[in-house]
Amino acid sequence: MKYAFFPGCVSRGGCPELYPAAKMICQRLGIELEEMPGASCTGAGVLQEKNELLGDALNARTFAMAEKLGLQIMTICSTCQGVMNQANYRMQKDPEYLALINSHLADEGLEYKGTAEPKHLLWILIEDYGLDKLKEIITRPLHGVRLAPFYGCYIVRPTEALDIEQHPERQTSLEQLIETLGATVIDFAGKTRCCGFPILTINEKNSMAMVAKHTSEVKDLGADAMITPCPLCHLNLDGYQPKAAAQAQRPIGMPILHMPQAIGLAMGISPKELGLQRHIMSVKPLLMKLDLVG
């Protein structure tokens, strides 16, 4: 199995622990990754509010690079995934639009033929790799650990662009993964809601209210940690949780795991290698539960 790897900016920027963790688990899974050093940011939906055509062109450029490698794209970020899917959806359903975009890509000798099917590692594990096979590699099942899923908006909506009709299993992918790792799912209504990150610098009060709402809800439900396939959610839910707790005037203390970190723990990789010490919210109580503190 081999993919063109699109790690996204944040996994090497604000969440530098994610990139190595994802690579490590892929290596153990036998998933080969080929980097695309010329690929740019997807635009994250922000660039698109100013100039959608430009945003779609940036993604078409990345898709064309993957086509050249003859590989499908793997992402490790819900936002990258969703933005890519939306761009791809617009281009695949409208050949004229695709031709217009290709006319701009031609300057650097690239052409997007429309065959990309970008997939988040989460989807790859379920659709291409198989959870049964994943189970075989698990040496330290997370028994007794209660994990609350938190998807990130872009990987759940709008369903049309994400091809949910063809792949209904995508809607419960995180829960399926949690169960495969041997942990218990803490289900809650907020799992597909917004973490508040996109308005962090625009309306911090609302952004913090969202962080507090979700993290305290799962805290009250008895979760040991939250698990997310989106590094942007992680930035807000982890990095800004102290501020959110102060605003909400209550203690929260909810560890937030990147999806690959949870998988890595279940594979027996050390917390340190997975970069868990880099989190703002201490993961110690969770590690104690797993007998990993000593």
Partner: protein, 323 residues
């Protein structure tokens, strides 16, 4: 077929009013909608169940409620399509707006927001000799927004209104777009500058998180969030860009255009403005915490390979917009 409808109920006239769940188990036609099932409950099992409905064909907009946790029109939802393995369907009143009784919510908040955007044409300048003219094309475009039936599904599931009822919200902002995009509204060129100036204020267009809940739940395909994005574009194009939101979008394009990637250190600084010392100071505690945990993004971003190609592409696609 056999169905179990689990309804969240509330009776304000009870001795000690509180929310409770009630289950109804009965037979319905295979083709029945959730509304058909609810009407059957009201007629045959419990006449006290309160709900709003009228047209039963997704025209009047009165039957919006949450079905299995997401807002939709009960009359447009086939019961069969939303049953779980045990044939159960969970029905709750719409969110954000306060519950009056059972599935009936108070729309006061909804209408206040619509009123706030002054939902009527406001042409400026001298009146034309004959009528105000608008191209077929522009009207066709607007029909995508005027199809709104004001059911409140988008408001119900808006992630921002859930934490902050002062937000104008998806329905009102989409309604506002219906006027800013109307060539008859605003100045002679159809630019609704005054409206846009109102809409960029706090609690307006820039407060949307782009979570897409409203796009997902709208039964009429209005895609309110896409209209909000179009409003943002209109505001920036009109030079009404003295807001964190506008600076954020502009800085994003600029920074990606430089290295090919997001620069997480420079983006927030450019967003609040380099001279906004209090806002910059507020980043400090979080920054220091990140630094001590080794969670800091790189100070200097490595450029992507052949970044010159990317810069050329961005320059080309941004330029015509600035003319």
């Amino acid at each position: 077929m056999d169905v179990t409808i689990k309804v969240r109920r509330f009776d304000p006239d009870a001795d000690a009013p509180e929310t409770y769940w009630q289950e109804f188990n009965f037979e319905i036609e295979d083709t029945a909608t959730v509304l058909d099932a609810l009407i059957k409950i009201r007629e045959d099992m419990d006449g006290t169940l309160s709900m709003r409905c009228s047209c039963r064909s997704s025209i009047c907009g009165s039957c919006a409620m949450r079905i299995n946790g997401h807002a939709c029109l009960a009359c447009k939802t086939q019961a069969r399509s939303v049953m779980d393995k045990e044939n159960t369907i969970i029905v709750e009143p719409a969110g954000v707006m306060p519950v009056i009784k059972d599935l009936v919510v108070d729309f006061d908040l909804f209408w206040k927001k619509i009123e706030e955007v002054e939902p009527y044409l406001q042409p400026e300048g001298p009146e034309p000799e004959a009528e105000y003219a608008a191209s077929n094309e522009s009207m066709l475009h607007l029909s995508g927004v005027t199809a709104c039936i004001m059911c409140g599904a988008c408001v119900s599931d808006c992630t921002v209104m859930e934490v902050d009822p002062t937000f104008l919200g998806p329905a009102a902002l989409a309604k506002a777009y219906r006027f800013t995009a109307d060539p008859r509204d605003g100045d002679a060129d159809g630019n609704s500058i005054d409206r846009l100036k109102q809409l960029v204020k706090p609690s307006g267009m820039w407060d949307c998180t782009r979570c897409a809940e409203c796009v997902q739940v709208c039964p009429k395909g209005i895609a309110p969030m896409d209209r909000i994005m179009a409003l943002r574009d209109q505001a920036i194009e009109a030079g009404i860009d003295n807001s964190n939101g506008a600076r954020h979008a502009e800085a994003f394009v600029e920074l990606v255009g430089h290295s090919g990637q997001i620069d997480e250190l420079r983006l927030p600084v450019k967003t609040v403005g380099i001279t906004n010392i209090p806002a910059l100071m507020s980043f400090l505690p979080v920054g220091i915490r990140a630094l001590t945990h080794g969670k800091m993004p790189p100070i200097f971003h490595k450029n992507i390979e052949n970044v010159r190609n990317l810069r050329r592409l961005i320059k080309k696609l941004e330029e015509p917009k600035q003319e």
